[in-house]
């Protein structure tokens, strides 16, 4: 009786799922869709870099190797949530781009397969995971961006220290990222804790809070408001500020003399990847100097990690900027505490 009933149930579930999958079929069967006529090899990637950066990089890879790339773009948090949720049955082979602390969190969840790409030996150790879970392909520092018109109205120069952001002239006039969602915010807080010490950094942020108009969910969220003059300025990753500048907005980029932290943009092999050989081929290729040379030619505003790749754009020259070396693994462990302090002390 029991087994008969469960058999009927099973049959019903099966037929219904067939019905639904069948509806999805039509001329475009989902399973058949990576329409790979056996010879074209295809690899699936979640990317955290903007669509236009990613497509430039992947197109170059396809041109070089003939391997087609199916990709989907997510914010770092969404991408990691996806990879973790799909752990038992990975949908992609590689997670590409995005700050290393996201990758460190992924290591904790056991979603990556350690792999040391060929070519990656040129990349300095500080840009790589000691266990080879991920490799850093680019560097992205924190910077200030201000609207030139607003600065002129207020008759102020572009700030060159953290303290200048506390100027009451900026009251309710700055936008920056929310610590709970944004890697930008974490790098901002790390910049402060590494240059001032943790407690002082939180005292500072409490004061800075008076001048914050809005904490945005994504790191770049405040950049357009600054460009439009909705906000006077803010603290962003360099890549976002240069993107705004390239669009023609009248903004000025500056750095605090005390120093800023930077994010390492990483990539990793997914554990249980369906195409491990192709994924490794991609990681090998993406570690080469040739790949990092693509940044400059495609207006991808990241700084290469490979010392063999020289940048021409003065905006990407970090020799005059004080960069703070952050311990990524430690930062990953501190993250929850730093965010909790931010919620309970800064925005309360």
């Amino acid at each position: 009786m029991q087994s008969k009933r469960s058999f009927v149930l099973l049959f019903l579930v099966f037929s219904l799922s067939l019905l639904l999958v069948g509806c999805g079929g039509g001329d475009k069967k989902p399973d058949a869709k990576p329409a790979a006529p056996a010879k074209t090899e295809t690899i699936n990637i979640y990317t955290i870099w903007p669509e236009k950066y990613s497509s430039a990089v992947f197109a170059a890879f396809t041109k070089e190797t003939g391997v087609k790339v199916n990709f989907l773009r997510f914010s770092s948090g969404e991408a990691l949530a996806r990879v973790v949720a799909e752990k038992g049955n990975p949908q992609v082979d590689v997670l590409f781009g995005g700050p290393a602390d996201t990758f460190a969190a992924g290591v904790e969840k056991g979603v990556f397969e350690p792999y040391a790409p060929k070519g990656a030996d040129k990349i300095p150790a500080k840009f790589k995971d000691p266990q080879n879970n991920w490799v850093g392909v680019a560097v992205n520092p924190i910077s200030f961006m201000f609207n030139n018109k607003v600065l002129k109205q207020k008759n102020l120069p572009a700030p060159t220290s953290w303290d200048e952001l506390l100027n009451p002239a900026f009251k309710n006039g700055l936008q920056t990222a929310d610590a709970r969602t944004s890697g930008t915010a974490i790098s901002r807080i790390l910049s402060l804790t590494y240059t001032m010490g943790e407690d002082k950094a939180y005292d500072y942020q409490k004061k800075l809070h008076q001048n914050i108009q809005m904490y945005t969910k994504s790191g770049a969220g405040g950049a357009l408001p600054v460009a439009n003059g909705q906000a006077a300025g803010g603290i962003f990753f360099l890549v976002d500020t240069l993107e705004i500048k390239a669009q023609g907005h009248d903004v000025v980029i500056s750095y605090p003399k005390e120093g800023v932290a930077y994010a390492v943009e990483a990539m990793a092999l997914i554990k249980g990847a369906k195409q491990p050989a192709l994924a490794k081929k991609f990681l090998d290729w993406a570690s080469t100097a040739d790949m990092q040379k693509l940044y400059e030619t495609n207006k991808i505003f990241f700084i290469p990690t490979n010392p063999d790749v020289k940048v021409q754009d003065p905006a990407l020259d970090m020799s005059k900027v004080k960069l703070v070396e952050v311990d990524i693994l430690k930062a990953g462990k501190d993250r929850q505490r730093l965010v909790d302090r931010w919620i309970n002390e800064v925005i309360k």
Binding site: V13, S17, E86, D178, Q213, Y215, S218, L224, N228, E243
Partner: protein, 545 residues
């Protein structure tokens, strides 16, 4: 009502569908949330009661949902009244019917961005009118944007209900000496009560579950639950915390559901009895109230059009705010780089809409007309995915269908299923509301003449509820084209969506491309919902309006 074998198998099929696509993912999510290492634990709920920020989010969510539902129902009723119960020239009716649909058919964050540009710090309104600045971020901005986004749902469901009220009833009241306003208050309004209650429930639930608007407009000072849940999952990589925050959302959703049940109670709202004479024309409400109604409609319409003008112009100039030279380059980008997303989205919506229409009507009809054990529970289950925040539905689908007996991740079916079981809620609710207006005797007559339950449904009931079915179908199609919260976790390298491309453009600072995508999407949806209306008008020429 006799046990029809067709009915039994229909109920079994519906339960099966609910079991697989609502209860099973929900159970898997419960398991992930409340079972740690094989033991039941409430630890993940504890944080909500100890953390001030989460407590504030609970309170804010309720406050916001209540305010949005109230304002949205009021606004929706005013628009629906103008369109269905006033003698307006045809173009005016068309205009008032078309404008509220705009916010509905664009992804919510698009209108949020337009609102920020218009009313945000240094926004156009303040510069033009020299108004003192106030902060749009927080309760007011979120409330305004959500009200504009959800009131069309009230408008659509209330139009169907209002249009079904026979003017003869109002005539009867008028000829018995009641004033026009008195007639409105004692006849028209009470007959709309189930519609109003349903609209309130739908709006309350959608505001409660909306995460995209607060993401852009709520800021840090006004946390709400769905956004908190989303941040917990994507920002802090804490699925259990995020899921438990979402479970808190179920409590108010349940309360509203039962309140609404209690409120509608057993009163009769029958307006279609088969016994009435020919329909007479619509009676005017009087000049002053009609002028009031028109003023509200026009002001709101102008504001909405202004917001969309920003988006439309934003898609046609080089860089908004810097370089106003006209260009089509953003549309070139959309049609070159976004073509796959456009095709995928349309196909998914085309598949989801008929499935959802059939299921929605079936749920609505069976739960309100048939008597069988577990009927209420079925109705509740059918609405469960709508009450849950989309991100949670999305995550639960990934958990449930990535491994185990039914693997669907990466397919089109998982997106279609998410849409169907989440957004046929409007179809169900408007079918139920419209059925409550139809006298059972009509169907009993058909049954006693020997027609089967299914035949009665098809030949008698269905034609009478066609406006409600059309409304539900349009809503489902629109949502399948514009929703983002659930499916952001379900899109795959094989199937991607327009809305995620828009969100992507917004986060990548490409306002112009986001605008161009939005304009394309709005045009597609407008054309499609026109087609759906036309289809039903051709199929049921006598019943649809």
């Amino acid at each position: 009502m006799k046990r029809d074998p067709a009915l039994v198998s229909a109920i079994a099929t519906l339960w099966l569908a609910l079991g697989v696509f609502v209860l099973y993912p929900f159970a898997r999510l419960l398991q992930v949330t409340f079972f740690a290492d094989g033991y039941f634990s409430l630890a993940s709920l504890e944080r909500v009661f100890t953390n001030w920020y989460d407590r504030a989010a609970v309170f804010n969510s309720l406050q916001l949902a209540f305010a949005v539902a109230l304002a949205g129902v009021l606004l929706g009723f005013i628009f629906a009244f103008a369109v269905t119960r006033m003698n307006l020239p045809k173009p005016t009716k068309w205009f008032l019917g078309a404008v509220p649909v705009l916010p509905l058919i664009s992804p919510p964050f698009t209108s949020s961005i337009a609102i920020t540009l218009a009313l945000g710090p240094n926004g156009m309104f303040f510069r033009w009118f020299g108004l003192p600045e106030f902060t749009i971020y927080g309760f007011w901005g979120t409330w305004l944007s959500e009200t504009l986004t959800v009131f069309p749902v009230a408008f659509l469901t209330l139009s169907a209900v209002l249009a079904a009220i026979d003017p003869n009833l109002e005539d009867a009241s008028l000829s018995l000496g009641r004033s026009r306003l008195g007639t409105f208050a004692s006849v028209t309004l009470p007959l709309t009560t189930p519609g109003l209650a349903n609209a309130f429930l739908l709006l309350f639930a959608s505001s409660l579950a909306d995460f995209a608007t607060p993401l852009v407009l709520a800021g840090h000072s006004f946390p709400v639950l769905p956004t908190q849940a989303y941040l917990q999952i994507t920002g802090l990589h804490d699925l259990r915390g995020g899921a438990s925050l979402s479970f808190i959302l179920l409590i108010p959703a349940l309360i509203v559901y039962f309140l609404q049940r209690y409120w509608i109670g057993e009163k009769s709202y029958v307006t279609i009895s088969g016994k009435s004479g020919p329909r007479t024309g619509i009676r005017s409400l009087g000049l002053a109230p009609e002028v009031g109604v028109m003023t509200v409609c026009l002001l709101v319409s102008v504001f909405i059009l202004f917001l969309y003008a920003i988006i439309f112009l934003g898609s046609l100039v080089k860089v908004w705010g810097v370089d106003y030279r006209p260009t089509f380059e953003h549309y070139e980008y959309v049609f070159n780089r976004g073509m796959k997303a456009i095709k995928d989205t349309i196909l998914i919506a085309l598949v989801a809409t008929p499935i959802g229409a059939i299921l929605g009507t079936a749920f609505g009809y069976i739960t309100s007309r048939m008597r069988f054990p577990g009927r209420r529970f079925m109705e509740f289950t059918a609405l469960l995915n709508y009450a849950l925040p989309g991100t949670v539905v999305g995550i639960s689908y990934v958990i449930a269908f990535n491994t185990g007996p039914l693997v669907l991740t990466g397919t089109m079916a998982i997106i279609v299923a998410a849409y169907v079981f989440r957004y046929d809620a409007t179809g169900i609710r408007s079918t139920v509301a419209s059925l409550q207006q139809i006298d059972l005797s009509l169907e009993e007559a058909s049954l006693s003449l020997g027609e089967s339950a299914f035949g009665t449904f098809r030949k008698v009931t269905l034609p009478l509820i066609i406006p409600a079915v059309t409304a539900g179908m349009k809503f489902l199609f629109i949502r399948a084209m514009t929703a983002i919260s659930a499916t952001i976790f379900l899109i795959s390298v094989h199937w991607t969506l327009l809305t995620t491309r828009i969100l992507e453009c917004m986060t990548e600072l490409q306002f112009a491309q986001a605008s161009a995508f939005s304009v394309v999407l709005i045009l597609i949806v407008f054309a499609a919902s026109g087609l759906i209306s036309l289809m039903f008008r051709l199929a049921y020429p006598r019943y649809s309006r």
